[in-house]
Amino acid sequence: MTAMTTPDLAGPGGHHDVSEARKLAMWAFLGSEVLLFGSLITTFLLYRTRVGDGPSAAEIFDIPFTSISSFILLMSSLTMVLGHHSWERKDWRQMRVWLLATAGLGMIFLAGQVFEFTEFVHEGLTVSTSPFGSAFFVLTGFHGLHVAVGVMMLMATAIMGFTGKLREDGGMNVGLVGLYWHFVDVVWIVIFTVVYLLAV
């Protein structure tokens, strides 16, 4: 509906550039994901002070810890974009290194989240303690799920890079994985502010 002046991407003879089409589709999907995380964040904003008898955000958050894990996720965007850059230059060796580094940073972030969740449960905050607990765990858990999917895609892409199965026209390519990964990172930028920093 915005596309009134959209450039005509169709090539001559009805052939179209598959990787361009994929990128376009990925952006559309990410537009949709904005609304998904928007709904979860809205739920959190509505419930952030409804703590019932359970601990409140200010009591339970460990801001220094979360800042470090946020920083790690942020830096994984750097390794991702460097991997993307090597992919464009067809430097497969470098690309694998950066992709695996990105996946590694993602896993560190996930490990941090698992640690954080266990701590919170020990301190008495579970999904059924209060609406705040429900909203917190579901929002950050959902984001964690996205990170996990991203890690899987990164590993798969890197492994396909090893075995030579990574094809230019393959369904999964570094360009798409990169977009997805950066988006997941961007969502965390918002979550870090809205969920954690506002609670200090």
């Binding site: 709904s39 999904v127 429900s134 396909m160």
Partner: protein, 624 residues
């Protein structure tokens, strides 16, 4: 790199070599076959939803009905609405969109054929999942908009688990196909097919794809929250512990109102194709029809809270949403006048597709007007949850969407199957449905204003509700007869229908330039488009007074000297269906945690296998 001989003689011979029958349908990535799959599945569920409706009407035929228990009645009205909205009207629009979007754009397929197949299998998985719940503890019973706490109260029964999971999967299927259609429109149009030259039906598909893309994620989150509230003890909608059920209402209607336009816009697109064809005039104010469609798309996101006028939003929000609701009637009204302008002074051919389109206009105007009455908050507070509302949305959904869809079926059936549906039987079909529809739903206006609440399974004698309820039930039987006549017509046509030829209606858009049914590659040569209604301009020119004059066949511009040399078609693949099956098994497992976790694992492996196989296999047939 394999190329296909363009003179592929019949669809049967284009199957994957050595395979045929069901396997061919399971592995198909052809947008036309997927369209047919969508079509048949939704007709099947149309019958299921219709039977559920008949149960409701039989129960209400006389006071103190004895046919259904209160519990069974709850299941019937919930599943009737869920089935009709998500398993019938949405997928049948998807059937038309799949089949005709590429043909109208002059393309050989959609942008992502395997994703397209995956959407279908996901839809089927979700649809079967919702329906099997009848056999394992009962169908969903919390109403189609599943207000908490009706949807979240935890009982021994898993009904609303089936509902919340099933709808989520259907949502994912729709998001996937929306992404697909948007990309198709933006990247696959034939040379010269600018956006403004795109047929109106394709435009409406484009618009609803945006509506679905941005509205479905919100209800997805709501459904996840419902599922978690029921299963792991979150408190999202638990008012006793600080949760807020009104949040669910927002999340649902933020999706639910754009959804209303998702249901009606494809029908409006169909009507905008049928009227010009049979009035033998171009669509009046074509760009207005398109732009009002876009306006409806945007405004459709700004009216959701008019479903919640009795939820206590406060006067500011109520006034604001009352205004936006009145405003959205404007672009809808614009379209009505455009259609009237199209038939004004045309030489009308009153055949079955045209009758259904005219019926659409008539009934949709009634439903639209009763809809505007809901924008007035004090009046709405009286009408809310009464049969008046039921009457309103059946006029727009049955009189609107379904009549538009039937118009589309009669219009495009010859293109899809190569045979014309019988006209005489078609007219009987139309009049039975038209009369039955009005007999069923017009009395509900009166019933509602006389105070009959919706979703009550019994009413006492002597409340003044008896007569009109009986009339409505009789009407529903007439309606059912009409549908039966339609099914008979389809069955008869398959056996001995009149052969249609490529262009039986002397129509205007590109899908009619190719054979009926079209070859697997759609067009021997990708068309080059010079006009709106390009096919019309290939056949006709105008004289000095603006009258259409047919161009003799031998003087028409030569479109193609020969077939394109390399035609790439997507290769068949079983991976989308495997991934869909995996999802189905996972869903079943999720309902029966902890033992079901085994099924979740098995299904998960199937799903991942499908996805990875999909990303690794070659894209184009024979291309290694």
């Amino acid at each position: 790199m394999a190329t296909l001989t363009p003179q592929a003689p019949s669809p049967a011979s284009t199957a994957a070599p050595g395979r045929g029958g069901i396997w061919e349908w399971i592995t198909t990535t052809d947008h036309k076959k997927i369209g047919i799959l969508y079509g048949f599945s939704s007709i099947l569920f149309f019958v299921v939803g219709g039977v559920e409706a008949l149960f409701i009407r039989l129960q209400l035929a006389v006071p103190n009905g004895e046919i259904l228990s209160a519990d069974a009645y709850n299941q019937m009205f919930t599943m009737h609405a869920t089935t009709m909205v998500f398993l019938v009207v949405m997928p049948i629009a998807s059937a038309f969109a799949n089949y005709f979007l590429p043909l109208q754009l002059g393309a050989r397929d959609v942008a992502f054929p395997r994703l397209n197949a995956f959407s279908y299998w996901l839809y089927l998985a979700g649809a079967l999942f919702l329906t099997v719940s009848f056999f394992v503890g009962g169908g969903a019973d919390g109403g189609w908009f599943g207000y908490a706490p009706l949807s979240t109260q935890v009982t021994e029964v898993v009904r609303m688990d089936y509902w919340s999971l099933g709808l989520q999967v259907l949502g994912v299927a729709s998001i996937a196909s929306s992404v697909n259609f948007i990309t198709t429109v933006l990247t696959m149009r034939a040379p010269g097919m600018t956006l403004m030259r795109m047929p109106v039906f394709s435009w409406m598909v484009f618009i609803i794809s945006f509506l679905l893309l941005f509205s479905l994620p919100m209800v997805t989150v709501g459904l996840i929250q419902v599922f978690l509230d029921r299963n792991i003890g979150t408190l999202f909608f638990d008012a006793a512990n600080g949760g807020d059920p009104v949040l669910w209402q927002h999340l649902f209607w933020l999706f639910g109102h754009p959804e209303v336009y998702v249901l009606i816009l494809p029908a409006m697109g169909i009507v905008s194709e049928v009227l010009p064809t049979f009035a033998r005039k171009p669509l009046f104010g074509r760009s207005f029809v398109i732009f009002s469609g876009i306006a409806i798309g945007f405004m459709g996101f700004g009216v959701w809270a008019h479903h919640m006028f009795t939820s206590g939003l406060g006067p500011v929000a109520e006034a604001a949403f009352a205004l936006t609701t009145m405003f959205i009637a404007v672009p809808t009204g614009v379209k009505i006048f455009n259609w009237l302008g199209t038939i004004w002074g045309g030489s009308l051919e009153l055949n079955t597709p045209m009758l259904f389109s005219l019926g659409f206009i008539f009934l949709f105007v009634i439903g639209g007007l009763s809809g505007v009455t809901h924008s007035i908050v004090p009046a709405d507070s009286q009408q809310h949850d009464s049969y008046y509302v039921v009457a309103h949305f059946h006029y727009v959904l049955f009189g609107g969407a379904i009549f538009g869809i039937f118009s589309g079926i009669y219009y495009w059936f010859p293109k899809v199957f190569g045979k014309l549906l019988n006209e005489r039987i078609g007219k009987v079909n139309f009049w039975l449905m038209f009369i039955g529809m009005n007999l069923t739903f017009a009395p509900m206006h009166v019933l509602g204003l006389n105070g009959m609440p919706r979703r009550t399974y019994r009413y006492a004698e002597g409340l003044g509700l008896d007569v009109w309820n009986l009339v409505a039930t009789i009407g529903s039987l007439v309606l059912a007869l009409g549908i039966a006549v339609f099914l008979y017509n389809g069955w008869r046509t398959f056996r001995k229908g009149e052969v249609a030829g490529p262009d039986p209606w002397d129509a205007r858009t590109l899908e009619w330039t190719t054979s009926s049914p079209p070859p697997e590659h759609n067009f021997d040569r990708i068309p080059v488009v010079h006009h709106e209604d390009d096919f019309w301009h290939q056949k006709y020119t105008t004289d000095e007074e603006g009258r259409a004059v047919a161009i003799p066949a031998d003087l028409r511009p030569v479109v193609a000297e020969g077939p394109d040399e390399d035609i790439h078609l997507p290769s068949p693949s079983y991976h989308p269906a495997l991934a869909g099956l995996g999802i189905f098994v996972m869903l079943l497992g999720l309902v029966y945690v902890p033992w079901g976790l085994i099924a979740v694992g098995v299904g998960g492996i199937g799903f991942l296998w499908g996805m990875f196989g999909w990303s690794l296999e070659p894209l184009v047939r024979g291309d290694h």
